[in-house]
């Protein structure tokens, strides 16, 4: 079964005043372990798609299923809980709680999930080591670089043991080196631990690292290609 599946997903903003058709009949299916990139020019609907599959917004029509469970009918509280236990999020910026250290930020999501307190610290440290921040555990976001903050955000997303991680333009505010570094980490998590990633981007170097590229144009799927990332872009 697909880990994530959309059927004729559409979103119209401001339907009563100036309707904006942000997404038109998008039907895609993503399997466990995929490393998928959603690409397209600015305004093509990438964020809208990720918000809908992440349960942050409601579609105008169509369905979102996570492992066969439809999230459409869920109430606010139920949906919040669903996100907490099933989906990891990495946003473009301001991901972290500024008054918490890296370790506290990672532990916090496990606390929300009521995970075992004893193991929380240990797991947070382990995840921070995995994203290369083993020696930055006690730093708070204002003391960290943008790249470091994004890596903490990835560690936090992993900490909740989600079914998949959604990352909306995670590298958009990073320089090339930090961006590639973040991509390396995401790719390693994908290969070593079979973590499913869906990330949006309009950065060609990032697109080159994806194994599946879904291209949106004006809110509709323009192309959907699977490929071997080692061969580079072979459209």
């Amino acid at each position: 079964m697909a880990i994530l599946k959309t059927t004729d997903l559409s979103k119209v903003y401001n339907p009563d005043t100036v309707p904006v058709h942000a997404l038109r009949d998008v039907s895609v299916s993503i399997e466990k372990g995929e490393f998928t990139s959603v690409v397209g020019p600015s305004g093509s609907g990438k964020t809208t798609l990720l918000n809908l599959v992440g349960g942050l917004d409601k579609p105008t029509s169509g369905e979102v299923e996570v492992e066969g469970i439809r999230i459409a009918g869920m109430k606010d509280r139920e949906l919040t809980n669903f996100r907490l236990h099933n989906i990891g999020f990495v946003f473009q910026h301001y991901n972290l709680i500024p008054v918490f250290s890296a370790r506290e930020n990672v532990s916090f999501i496990m606390l929300l999930q009521n995970q075992d307190k004893e193991k929380m610290q240990e797991r947070a440290d382990e995840l921070l080591r995995a994203v290369g921040l083993g020696n930055r555990k006690d730093a708070r976001p204002p003391q960290m670089s943008g790249g470091e903050q994004q890596r903490v955000a990835v560690a936090r997303a992993l900490a909740s043991k989600p079914k998949f991680i959604l990352a909306d333009e995670p590298t958009a505010s990073l320089d090339t080196e930090a961006a590639m570094n973040l991509l390396d980490i995401m790719q390693r998590m994908n290969q070593e631990q079979n973590v499913t990633f869906v990330f949006s981007t309009h950065d060609q170097r990032v697109i080159d690292r994806a194994r599946r590229v879904i291209t949106l144009v004006d809110g509709a799927v323009d192309s959907d290609e699977h490929r071997d990332p080692d061969e580079g872009a072979t459209a």
Binding site: N51, G54, L56, D57, D76, R77, T80, N81, R83, L84, H85, I87, F89, F91, Y94, N95, I97, P98, V99, F100, E104, S107, F108, I109, L111, L112, Q113, R156, S160
Partner: protein
Amino acid sequence: MLTYITLAWRNLWRNKRRTMITVSAIAFAVIVSVLLQSLNRGSYEMMIDRMVSFNTGYLQIQDFRYDDEASLDNAFFYDEELRERVLHADDRIRKILPRLQTFMLAANGASARGAMVFGIDPEKEDRFNDLKGYKTEGRFFELDEQAAVLSQGMADRLQLTVGDTLVLLGQGRFGMSASGLFKITGLMDHPIREMNNQAVYLPLNTAQEFLSAEDHLTALMIAPERERQTESVAAALRQALRHDDELVVFTWPELMPELLDLMEFDLAGPRLMTVILYVVIGFGFFGTILTMTMERIREFGVLLSVGMRRVRLAAVVFLETLFICLMGVITGVILSLGLIALIDPIRLSGRAAQAVIDMGFEPVLPLSYAPDQFYTQGIYVFLIAMLVFLFPLWKLFRLNIIEAARS
């Protein structure tokens, strides 16, 4: 829970200056309110304290007719049996004080004045209200001596002093005429201003015989261990005296309602000031919470996205509001207590003092330490905090995640 407390606490210090200003403003309001109240209540408490120890007792037993007509005819029979019954009614009863009291004419042979005559037991009085400490000249009498102690004002008006003879004229119980001569053994400065011009003390036994009221009292004053036991001791006494349908028990607030009303009336001013002050401070508090909320909308959006429930987020903001409130109240209470201790009692000097002395008062403004003036401030500030908290609560529950992220 600890994590949420830590989060809230650290959030407060993201803008140290703003939090400090808000806390100080609340503390300031608490201090001003407490001081205003304390100053106003101080004088009343002193008055009440004196009235209770010299005039009424915390509790008092009377004949049921005495309240309507304060006449010797309505005195009650008091013997060993009644004394025992009262003392055993409740083990918190510490002291009892028998008195026979009536209005008479006091004269020096040439002129006469109205006098409040008290038949008393000086030893028991002294234990009850330190009576002997107020003596200015001479000595207090023995229980059956034909003697009197005069308040200073009365002595001045009649131009009498220790060693002179006082004439008392009036009626005893059931219209028996009563007139007698008493040797003045001492003078005293009565702490209640009106009393200082009219009090005449006689030995209890002498007074009872003189007024044809042997074994009778007009009042039995009672003191429990602590003031706050007054009501429950009154209940116990009423129970113990339930078969005595002639006797009634009064508590001090029942005996001097005018004074309490006056105090309430006088407190209305400071209360209004307090309300105005709190409205102003409340807006400042609101402003702080408002900005603390608005500048974190995006952060709230992220937290809701990753799966934090709105109620939990609201709980964190609630803790932030509560911490500001607590810090303000605690600082305010500690500082106002310190200030009161430092300046109490305020001694007036110069012209102000003379003006007060001329009106017959002591030139001293005592302050009150009544605990309720402190915790009521706490309650007020807490209520304001709850009101202020309504804004982030409302904001949080209608926050749209997508819009928060785009803001």
